[in-house]
Each structure stands twice: as structure tokens, then as C-alpha cells.
Symmetry: none
Subunit: 419 residues, 2 copies
């Protein structure tokens, strides 16, 4: 089963609204085992909508249309659907009743515009809209199906959840699709790809027809590896996912900090909590970003004691007891100062772990021997103190993001006793 | 000039990634006076990409393609472009140099995969990519233009800003479109709308053909007001924008902290710098977010001395000399503690200003008299100490974001001697 999504609205073309509807529909269809081949966004123009419908109808089995079904002058999707399916409009009494109930509950009067919302194309199946006045419309012709609904996100979601997803579960495509994502950090896309080796081999020799795919999704937080498995049923798909997972973990396991939506600060938080450990951070170049991320996690007060953002040298001396002489001799951006910051903040806050960053975020302040992007990350616990050097590029915000990620990953590796 | 956007990547079809790239490109093209007619998302499949290119090329004058230009096996856009334009690959020496520089700045080794990134279709104009290894590619044929670039958002933005937007400004379409955005904070969308009054009147009576529009764009940082003016030339458009700006400022001026892309931490930084003042922050519920935002601004070390993230009560006492007895009597989330934190951090860091936050970010920890979302923001300078109370909703991250914004806005208003 091959599906397409058509989203209608000028606001999507000029970037005033990000197309979250398409993402939601795509995700739900994919969970229901339906392959989405194309997403199209067009404006509120008759010819553009008609062309998009025609193209999609010719090449796909299922089409989901959102937008342009509301009550204002620029909502023309229903008119175009009537023309496309050669259908006239008829009054749909249950929709009249439903609109009347909706208006009453918001203390609004019945109007001619409301009446128009209850006019539906002859031969269409009418799908109730709990959250608005425009009903959903389904057309089944030539073994294909088209479902159209309003573009207001919660109205759209109501119809997708209550009607479209159940529809595809009752009309299964014979394929179960399973996605799994592995979130890595501390390794570039190309190096990761080299470590995984031949991808076709990795996803299985019997991978005719691209039934299993593997994709790399890079970001400043690291590279995510996504595998997608299509199988005859969910159990087969799960088995395949587990097989591939074990191969990926064997080759790049230490770089994987989590799966699917998991983020690094949650993983680190969970590890600290499980071990009953506390942490304090001393940030220079990351400027508070590490503390911000740690404290985004609900319940982080259980293990996060305090942080200091020591931007000036005097604050490093005053708040962390870093010796002025150490800074004078090695510079603030150095292994020695990173280590002294980590031990200093750990002692000061009386925590089990201390974590520190000192570096040159740019755009100015770089020198030949200490360029923009140079960052030292320090770590201290009861047994050991160490600092690692990183080169994180030349964009101020991304240096901060990469340094924060590297620092949190250092804690993860230490807690897991990784090298 | 009619344009289309093609975005490539399976992740867009299954809803794993929301298509923010399309929104950004659409917005920038629209600013440059280019009408976007269609946005298409297709997967990493040769035939699908080829079909999308063919359709777009047949009906449009300008095509922007993002995605599928990276170094891994699923990046096939370049291959499809070669086929589509019937071009072989040639080595592009300046790209070799640029990749070498990029790898060096991150301390990474040269690899065969990196080398492949420097192979470009013959006859294409190569567009430098400051932030990644895949260069942008421009094809000009039959009076039409196609520009392709990597889909990593910051790499894509770099090429849109540095190359695509200037290109369309040099190839104008006959209409001048001017957008201006006024960034407000501390006021809701409905209240702001009431203050502005009748919008049609505001944008001008002679507004035939909706040539001028005004839109409200809410976010946790505040509400942006965007006006869009279409005129015969840039001068006319500028005059209209200035007329409307003066009306908006007369009615809601004190809420406007900046224009267009200006963000509050830049405005506050500039005000501090102009006055030669320094600041230190003491954060509880915002967890480092204020310090992170202040230090995102290049040169912030001139006025930002240090910050402390005092999550535990003992750290409030130890790092800020807040009296334990004050916390016992009033609770950590109180006017008294917010004020003591602001004066404490100011004294400790020897700065001109002290800023503090203490509140309940949730999801737990709320009580009837002190619910989730309650935040006290403290401010101290040489003359005065004060604290303001806010109720900022019940979502942990949004409470942090709104509190950080309110705190920075308090500093802005104090520096501008606003009530």
C-alpha cells in the first residue's frame, strides 16, 4: 500500500507555519504499516490542489488531504474535490445536528456559513469531526481511497486517530513496518559509517526490494542511526530489528547512549539516580548549558546539587579555588585548569562527581596554539581526576552544544566504566 | 518567478523529523519576493527524487532541493542530479581545501569519503558550505535555476543566507515584498491585539488587494507581530512599513524589545555594554538557562561576570549567603529569598547588577498556595532591590523559558528606566 499526503494552505509555502500536520500523519500511517511515498504542500489555489490530487491519485493507493475545509473564503478544498470526483453537494443531516451541538456548547449562533459546512459531496463517506464544524470526507473509487479533513491540528488529529488509523488497521496492507533509532554521540557520520561497514550486509543478505533500510541523521548532539524493517508481521519485524541491533551494537555500541526519543541528560540522570550519586558542574565556555540541560529533566534535584558559570578568571579563583598561579602558568583553557575546576566544584558542592568545561567558543579569542573551538572537559570523582581535549568547530553556539554533549557523554562513560 | 521546494529524506515521510527546512526556505524565498507554489517531500529513492525534479522543472522557474547530499550510502541526490542534468562528476579543488580545513578544525583525519564530497557534477556552480563537507550545487539551464544543498539545518541555512537569498535579490521578480517583525514580551496575544485596536485601520484604509498584512506569532519568548508590505518598489514599501511601525509603537511600544531577528539577550547585552555595567545571575528554577542565553552572545564576557545554579537550599546558603532562617521562614520560593539571592550574587561577584530566579518548574513540588509555575524573579543594583511574582503555566521547559525571558526583560526595563 502506497500512500501520499497532500497539505493545503498558503501559510505552509511562505514558512509562516511549519508543516507539523504532515509529520503527524506520516508517523501515524507508518505505525499502521502504510508506506508514505510523497508529501506535497500546495497553496489555496484551485489548479494547484487539482493537480496535486490528480498526480497523487495516479500513482498511489491511499491519499490523505488536510487543510482548506474550513468556513472562510480561502477554503476551497471541498469545491475541488467535488470537481475531481464529479460529485454535487448534498445536505448531511447528522452533520447539521453535530454543528448545532458544537455551536451551542460555545454559546454561538447558527449561521449560513455553518449550514454550508454540512453540505457534503454526494457519494462521500462523512467522518464526524468532534472538535470543529468541518466533517472529514472519504472517497473510495477504483480500489483506492482518499480521506480529506480540516487542517486545524487538533481537528486533524481527532480524525486521524478516530478514523484513519482504525481504517488502515481494518484494511491491512499485509506489511508490518517497524522503526528503531539508535542515538550516538562522540563520532562523526563518516567514521560511524566506516565502523558499521557494508550496510547491505549489515541489514541482511536477503534484503531484496529494500525491505530493510538504515539511515544516518546527524545533528550537533550526535548522529542517529535509524533502521526501518518491513516484514509480514510484527513478530518477524521485531526479530529482524533485534538481529540488526545486535550487529550495530557489536560494531559501535559504546557510542550509542540511547534509543528512539531518549536524550543524553535523561540517560545520565537515570545512571546517577540508580547509583545514588550526586553531581555539580563548573562551566566556562558552555555558559550554563550543561546545568540547563540537566535541570530540564523532572526530578533532577535528586542528583543535581548546584552549578557555577565561571566566565571570568576571578570567578574561577573565587568560586572554585582554582589557584591564580595555575591560570597564569597554563592559561584558563588548559588541562590543568579544567581538572582544578572539576575537583574544585566537587569539593565546594560536596558531591560525588564534578564536571567542568573551559574553552574558546569564539568568534574571537582564538590563537594559533589555542584556536576557536578548543575545549577542555574536566571530570572528577573520589578515585580520579582527568581532562579531555576537543576541537569542536568554529560556530559559537555549536561549540557550546557539542561541548555540553561531550561533557555529559564523559559522565555516562565513566558511570558505565567504559574506557 | 515561480519556485518550488523539494526536500529529500525518508525521515520526513515517516514523521521522524518535522520539515522545518521547507518552512525556512519558504520564508526566505518569500522575503526575497519569490512566490513558492509547491513543497514536495520524497524519500531517499532514486525514482522518487527524479520524478520530483522532472515535475518541478517542467512547471517552475526556480527549484530549491535540500537533503541527500551527505557522505553516507543513503545520500543519493547528487547521483540523481548528475543523471537529470546528464553530467559526470569532476573533482573540485577548492572544495578539497575547504573540507581539509573543516576536518582540521575538528581534529579529524582525511578520508576517502571526504574526498567523494569534493566530486561535483560538471557544469554546476559550486557553492561553499562553511559548516559541512557537502558543497551546494547550482544548475542554470533554459532560463531556469536549481540549487541543491545538504539537509542538515545549519548547513542548509548557511547556503540559503549566503547564496540563495542574494541570488534572488540580484534576479528580482518585479514586486518588492518587505517583512518587518516586532518582538514583544510580557503581554499575551489577545491583550496585545486589544492594544493595537482595529487592524485594518492600523495597516491603512487604502489596503485594497490585501497588499499589507499583519500577523501575530506567539511563542514562549513572547508574541511577534509581523507586517508584510507589497509595493511597486522598495522605497514605497519602506515608507509604508515606517508608517505602520510608528502606529504600533505608539500603542504597544514598551513591550517591544527588538525587531526582526533581534533576541532579548542581545538587547540586554548591548544596553549593559553601552552603560559599562556588569551582571551576575543566581538561578534556581531556570537551572542555568539565563546564563546560557547571556553567554550565547559573542563578547558577553565584557559584562557577564559569573553565574550560579543554586538548585539545593544548601547551595543558596553556601554560595549566596542567603540566611537559612530566611528560607525556613518564607520557603525557598518567595519574594524574600529571590531578593536575597539577587543581592547575594551581586555582592559575591562584585558586579553592578544581580539577577535571580526561584520557582517551581514542576511537574511535582506544587502546593495550593505555591503551585507549579510560580516564579519569583529578583533584581538588585546599587540603588534598589526588588522581586516580581509570575505564574508561568505548568510545563517544565516552558516555565524555564518564560522565566528566563521575564528575568532578562526586567533587566531591560530597569536599564531603560521603564516603570
Amino acid at each position: 500500500m502506497r500512500a501520499e499526503i497532500i497539505t493545503v494552505g498558503d501559510e505552509l509555502l511562505i514558512g509562516q507555519v511549519v508543516n507539523t500536520n504532515a509529520a503527524y500523519v506520516g508517523e501515524q500511517l507508518s505505525f499502521a504499516g502504510v508506506d508514505v511515498a510523497t508529501v506535497t504542500a500546495v497553496g489555496d489555489h484551485e489548479e494547484a490542489i487539482e493537480r496535486a490530487l490528480r498526480d497523487a491519485w495516479n500513482r498511489s493507493d491511499a491519499i490523505i488531504v488536510t487543510g482548506g475545509l474550513g468556513p472562510t473564503h480561502d477554503d476551497i478544498t471541498k469545491k475541488v474535490l467535488c470537481k475531481f470526483f464529479n460529485a454535487g453537494l448534498v445536505l448531511h443531516e447528522p452533520t447539521v445536528e453535530s454543528i448545532r451541538g458544537l455551536l451551542t456548547s460555545r454559546n454561538l449562533a447558527w449561521s449560513e456559513r455553518a449550514q454550508e459546512q454540512a453540505m457534503v459531496p454526494q457519494g462521500a463517506t462523512v467522518i464526524p469531526n468532534r472538535y470543529g464544524t468541518a466533517p472529514g470526507l472519504m472517497f473510495e473509487r477504483q480500489g483506492k481511497v482518499l480521506v480529506a479533513m480540516a487542517g486545524v491540528p487538533y481537528e486533524m488529529k481527532g480524525i486521524i486517530d478516530s478514523f484513519v488509523v482504525p481504517y488502515f488497521h481494518e484494511h491491512p496492507s499485509g506489511v508490518s513496518i517497524l522503526h528503531r533509532t539508535f542515538n550516538t554521540t562522540g563520532i562523526t557520520e563518516s567514521l560511524l559509517s566506516e565502523k558499521l561497514g557494508n550496510i547491505d550486509e549489515m541489514v541482511g543478505v536477503s534484503n531484496e526490494d529494500r525491505r530493510t533500510t538504515l539511515a544516518f541523521l546527524p545533528s550537533p548532539q550526535g548522529v542517529r542511526i535509524r533502521i526501518t524493517v518491513r516484514a509480514r508481521n510484527l513478530k518477524n519485524a521485531q526479530t529482524r530489528v533485534e538481529e540488526i541491533e545486535s550487529r550495530i551494537r557489536a560494531r559501535a555500541g559504546s557510542y550509542i547512549f540511547g534509543c528512539d526519543e531518549e536524550i543524553l541528560e535523561e540517560v545520565v540522570g537515570r545512571l546517577l539516580k540508580e547509583r545514588g550519586l550526586t553531581i555539580a558542574v563548573a562551566e566556562s565556555c558552555t555558559g550554563g548549558l550543561i546545568a540547563d540541560r540537566i535541570t530540564n529533566v523532572p526530578g533532577s534535584s535528586d542528583y543535581f546539587e548546584s552549578g557555577v558559570v565561571v566566565y571570568s578568571n576571578s570567578s574561577k579563583v573565587e568560586l572554585l579555588r582554582v589557584a591564580q598561579e595555575l591560570i597564569d602558568r597554563n592559561g584558563a583553557v588548559s588541562r590543568e585548569v579544567a581538572e582544578a575546576m572539576a575537583t574544585g566544584v566537587r569539593k565546594r558542592a560536596c558531591t560525588d562527581l564534578g564536571l567542568s568545561t573551559t574553552g574558546i567558543a569564539g568568534p574571537t579569542g582564538g590563537k594559533a596554539e589555542k584556536p576557536v573551538g578548543l575545549v577542555w572537559i574536566g571530570y572528577a570523582d573520589e578515585q580520579e581526576t582527568l581532562a579531555l581535549r576537543f576541537h569542536l568547530g568554529n560556530d559559537r553556539r555549536r561549540v557550546k552544544e557539542r561541548a555540553a554533549q561531550a561533557a555529559l557523554d564523559l559522565v555516562r562513560r565513566k558511570l558505565l566504566k567504559m574506557p
